[in-house]
């Protein structure tokens, strides 16, 4: 795999998160019954960043949660390498909340389908919305994001890497090409 280009730097990523925070507050008329759920792995720090941004803007600490979708993957019985399962930690009643799901990259939509199944097994949220840092296209299911940091048309041989300070030591979005 070789490096092609930097798509967003730390400053641009921060600005994208600020815009998404504004859009979420605008659409939901505030933050009173919101909750943010990050999908393992990079959705979790994104949810934390967004909660912090919303707290700065609105003065409300929105609850956050962690969701692992491994057990809901539609290819789990067919894959050749066993994925590590992480803990799902949602310590609030999701039935009383509008949930915003967070992930780093939206691609085929299969992760989000699994996340919707996993979330609805935990309760019946008032609504579920989706926020992603990058939408790279190539959907295989009728799923779209409500909030997007960067729309990035890609080819299937390209790889989008969202790196975050919490998980990768730096904030940057990069485009790579598979060999």
């Amino acid at each position: 795999m070789h490096y092609k280009a930097q798509i967003l730097d730390a400053h641009e990523m921060k600005r994208a998160m600020t815009r998404i925070a504004h859009e979420i507050l605008e659409r939901n008329k505030g933050a009173t019954d919101l909750a943010l759920v990050g999908i393992h792995t990079r959705g979790i720090p994104l949810a934390e960043q967004l909660a912090q941004k919303i707290a700065e803007l609105e003065g409300i600490q929105v609850p956050t949660g962690k969701l692992d979708i491994t057990l809901y993957r539609d290819d789990l019985s067919e894959i050749s390498r066993q994925p590590i399962i992480r803990r799902t930690e949602i310590n609030f009643d999701i039935g009383t909340r509008k949930i915003v799901l967070l992930d780093d990259v939206l691609f085929t939509g299969r992760t989000i389908r699994a996340a919707l199944d996993a979330l609805t097994d935990l309760g019946r949220p008032k609504s579920i919305q989706l926020a992603v840092m990058v939408d790279r296209g190539h959907r295989e299911l009728p799923i779209r994001a409500d909030y997007v940091g960067k729309n990035l048309p890609t080819s299937k041989t390209e790889v989008v890497k969202v790196k975050l300070a919490e998980t990768d030591g730096e904030d940057v979005v990069e485009l790579w090409e598979m060999e």
Partner: protein
């Protein structure tokens, strides 16, 4: 994370890392069991056969529920209602069941080594749910998980197992697993029920119950297998209870935080006092509860990502 292991027959060939992986995933499964919908689609399309040639309540129900919680289809075979009584062999029974496109066998049998044979006959992933006196690995895993939940680690724990060690596959599997994980195991029972050859690194064998319990973190009482007691192993049941019963006064020698385990089914007031089994020190119900999460984890590790 795949550990490359297809079967769970005993712990031979298993690494500390692979066992830690199962115990960590059991935590995730425990969380699944606390949800409103206690079911995930992870094993959709997979058929699991519980082939029980010997009676069992908790192991069979626990495995079946674990498989169903993971969305597997479950084929239940119970020897009592089968053609075994007409003379069918183990091999023919397994090959018949295998013809129903089973992906995994969970086997209990009164003969030591039967689970190995099933693995060979079927060619499918096989889990030993207890074979003769030899092994009961998922019981040992759920016991280890119960200790882990209580103490946060296994390394350095002093675990004393008391009773009919000779006939106990639970004692053998626990000694195997816990010593591998760095716990100090003491096996204790009357001389006639205590095979000395089980002694090795981290596993001590003694008839002295007072010494065995002194300073223990975990005290496990084993069921006195009265159906196997026709060989003159014990003078009488009441004498056994007098000398080897796990009760409150014995527990005074253990650490203050010591917990009591029993793999079930219990003979109350024989190998364990009923009051201790019901006390705050008892984790016997927790063992049953954790057993389901541990078995879900075992199914995940053996059946997912191996194609």
């Amino acid at each position: 994370m795949g550990n490359g292991v297809k079967h769970l027959l005993d712990f031979q060939g298993w690494t500390v890392e692979a066992i830690e992986g199962i115990l960590e995933t059991a935590d995730v499964m425990k969380e699944v069991l606390e949800r409103p919908v206690k079911k995930v689609p992870a094993l959709q399309g997979i058929t699991v056969c519980t082939a029980f040639f010997e009676n069992s309540t908790r192991t069979r129900t626990s495995f079946e529920l674990a498989a169903r919680r993971m969305s597997a289809d479950v084929l239940t075979f119970a020897a009592g209602a089968s053609s075994l009584s007409k003379g069918e062999s183990l091999r023919d029974t397994i090959e018949t069941l295998n013809a129903y496109k089973v992906d995994a066998f969970i086997v209990r049998h009164h003969a030591s080594g039967a689970a190995h044979q099933v693995a060979r006959f079927s060619g499918k992933s096989t889990i030993n749910a207890g074979d003769g006196r030899r092994a009961h690995p998922t019981q040992a895993l759920l016991d280890a998980y119960t200790m882990l939940k209580e103490f946060g680690k296994l390394e350095g724990l002093k675990v004393t197992i008391i009773g009919d060690i000779l006939h106990s596959r639970v004692a053998r599997s626990n000694a195997e697993l816990l010593s591998l994980m760095g716990a100090q195991v003491t096996l204790c029972g009357p001389a006639t029920l205590l095979p000395r050859e089980l002694a090795r690194d981290n596993v001590k064998v003694t008839t002295d119950i007072q010494e065995a319990v002194t300073g223990a973190d975990v005290v496990m009482a084993l069921r006195l297998q009265q159906e196997r007691m026709n060989g003159g192993f014990l003078p009488s049941m009441s004498e056994y209870a007098l000398t080897y019963q796990v009760n409150e006064s014995l527990l005074e020698r253990a650490k203050d935080h010591a917990i009591v385990l029993h793999p079930g089914p219990m003979n109350r007031d024989l190998e364990i006092s009923g009051s201790l089994a019901d006390s705050a020190r008892s984790r016997i119900i927790a063992q049953v509860e954790y057993g389901q999460a541990v078995r879900m984890s075992v199914l995940y590790h053996l059946l997912v990502g191996k194609k």
